[in-house]
């Protein structure tokens, strides 16, 4: 019997499989295949951009191109193109848009009614500060070279594309379309993958990340959990609504809940995904960093 099992013939994959894969890679933006396409394109661009970045580090960076209307740099309205220096503000009104070249590593599109400042333009630190409005960043570089500060968080690029919005009150919303972004603030960190979002609030920092396709009740309850004080316990809604993919949210909640609630979060997670071999319940409940990271590395396959 074992010999026959070992001798099962290897079957040739039909040529149509690669054709389908290739057309998926070329197809624009259905959710998963779009992701693959973007990933491949961004990675290829990353290789090129990083090569240029390394060998042309001395070239001037932070070029700005006008896309619509009349954006201003500092106190002056810009023409079709301009340059922004460290400490200067770029501002758009309701009819103007602009695009900043982030050194040689990417671009940032500045949407209308936005105010953004160039904080640092060094090879190892490309940093903007977003006071209000909306920017969309596409960065093709090794992780942790590009940062966006807001009043409630710092978005750390881990090789990605994303949109960051900040309203007049300083509250923000990060939406990641490719790769990963880490939101950091006063020791609090949220890891946000493609397809997921994370809210931020002044004086509180980044909330808990969630997938955009998560159940609406989960997202609403999560907002209460992160930023409100309510009579009802948001976990009563979040936990039963969570799907396997929402272990992204639950994994973050482990370190944001008190011990009794952490037990509940862990129980729900275990119903959705097993612990890795060698990792114990006690380690997770005590927030053992290594154990949490091991589990996250496993859960990533569901995200």
């Amino acid at each position: 019997m074992f010999d026959d099992l070992k001798n099962l013939p290897v079957r040739k994959a039909p040529d149509s499989v690669w054709s389908e894969i290739e057309s998926s890679l070329d197809r624009p933006r259905s959710r998963s295949t779009g992701f693959s396409l973007c990933l491949a394109a961004a990675a290829a661009l990353a290789a090129i951009a990083f090569f240029v970045y390394r060998y042309e580090a001395d070239k001037p960076r932070w070029q700005v191109v006008r896309l619509d209307g009349a954006p201003s740099i500092g106190a002056s309205k810009m023409g079709d193109s301009g340059r922004i220096a460290e400490g200067q503000w770029l501002e758009t009104d309701s009819t103007s848009r602009a695009q900043i070249s982030v050194g040689e590593i990417g671009t940032v599109q500045v949407e209308p009614n936005t105010r953004v400042r160039l904080v640092a333009a060094r090879p190892q630190e490309h940093r903007l500060s977003l006071a209000k409005g909306e920017i969309s960043a596409v960065v093709n570089a090794p992780p942790r070279l590009f940062f966006v500060d807001t009043t409630a968080s710092t978005a750390v690029d881990l090789g990605c594309a994303y949109t960051m919005k900040v309203d007049d009150s300083g509250s923000g919303l990060l939406q990641v379309t490719l790769g990963w972004v880490a939101l950091e603030w006063n020791g609090r960190e949220s890891m946000v993958p493609a397809g997921a979002s994370c809210r931020t609030r002044p004086k509180i920092g980044p909330g808990t990340p969630y997938f955009d396709d998560a159940p609406a009740e989960l997202k609403d309850a999560l907002s209460s959990f992160d930023f409100s004080v309510t009579k009802a316990d948001p976990l009563d809604t979040i936990l039963p609504a969570a799907r396997a993919r929402d272990t992204l949210t639950l994994w973050h909640l482990l370190s944001r809940t008190q011990r009794s609630d952490r037990d509940r979060v862990l129980d729900r997670m275990l119903a959705l995904a097993p612990l890795p071999e060698g990792v114990t319940r006690a380690q997770i409940l005590s927030l053992d960093r290594k154990a949490l990271d091991q589990w996250k590395d496993q859960l990533v396959f569901k995200w």
């Binding site: 019997m1 074992f2 026959d4 099992l5 070992k6 001798n7 099962l8 013939p9 290897v10 079957r11 040739k12 994959a13 039909p14 149509s16 499989v17 690669w18 389908e20 894969i21 998926s24 890679l25 998963s32 295949t33 992701f35 693959s36 990933l39 491949a40 394109a41 961004a42 990675a43 290829a44 661009l45 990353a46 290789a47 090789g159 790769g179 097993p274 890795p276 071999e277 590395d297 496993q298 990533v300 396959f301």
Partner: protein, 186 residues
């Protein structure tokens, strides 16, 4: 030009090139593993070539999408098998209503006329018995005997302990032996 590499030649460089979006490198990687992945999915899905082709496609797309997560602390093939396992089991869960086909006859025999008819018949019986195993037993059998993975590698691919692997294989052996009673093995 399509480059086909041996599994030994899947170096960190190839993986890194894939990670950087190099489509030729991904094609080379695909060519190296496609038949193995397709065969596992084909045997797993009872010889349903259409489902196997779709599943193979999904495996490689997921692989590409998650290439950045591969950190080289395990064999690349072990990592790849995790995608195969997850894809097959996810597919099975989603289509549980259609999981066990009414017809469990062995699929498309590949034996030539010159080959021994009795051997072909036995092989087909084994395929049919394999098809009838529940998914959680079927996959360990394929990884162990068709792919030749060690218990440790299987544990990592199946995301369970080696004890669980051993237990599932033991159960699978018993079921297979029962189904194949009367053939030469029993």
């Amino acid at each position: 030009l399509v480059v086909v590499l041996s599994e030994r030649e899947i170096s960190a460089g190839i993986v890194e090139a894939c990670r950087q979006g190099d489509r030729d490198a991904f094609r080379a990687l695909y060519e190296t593993y496609k038949d193995k992945v397709y065969s596992i999915t084909l045997y797993f899905f009872h010889g349903d070539s259409s489902t196997a082709a779709d599943a193979t496609q999904q495996v490689f797309l997921k692989l590409l999408r998650n290439m950045a997560q591969f950190r080289g602390d395990s064999e690349f093939s072990t990592w790849l098998y995790r995608f195969v396992v997850n894809t097959c089991l996810d597919w099975t869960r989603r289509k549980s209503a259609r999981e066990i086909p009414a017809d469990l006859r062995p699929f498309a025999a590949s034996y030539s006329q010159e080959q021994d008819f009795a051997r072909a018949q036995t092989g087909e019986s084994v395929q049919a018995a394999l098809s009838a195993l529940p998914p959680k037993f079927r996959m360990p059998v394929l990884l162990r005997y068709f792919e030749g993975l060690s218990y440790g590698e299987m544990g990592r691919a199946l995301n369970c302990s080696t004890g669980t692997v051993a237990s599932r294989l033991n159960r699978a052996h018993k079921i297979l032996a029962k189904k194949l009673a009367g053939l030469k093995y029993v």
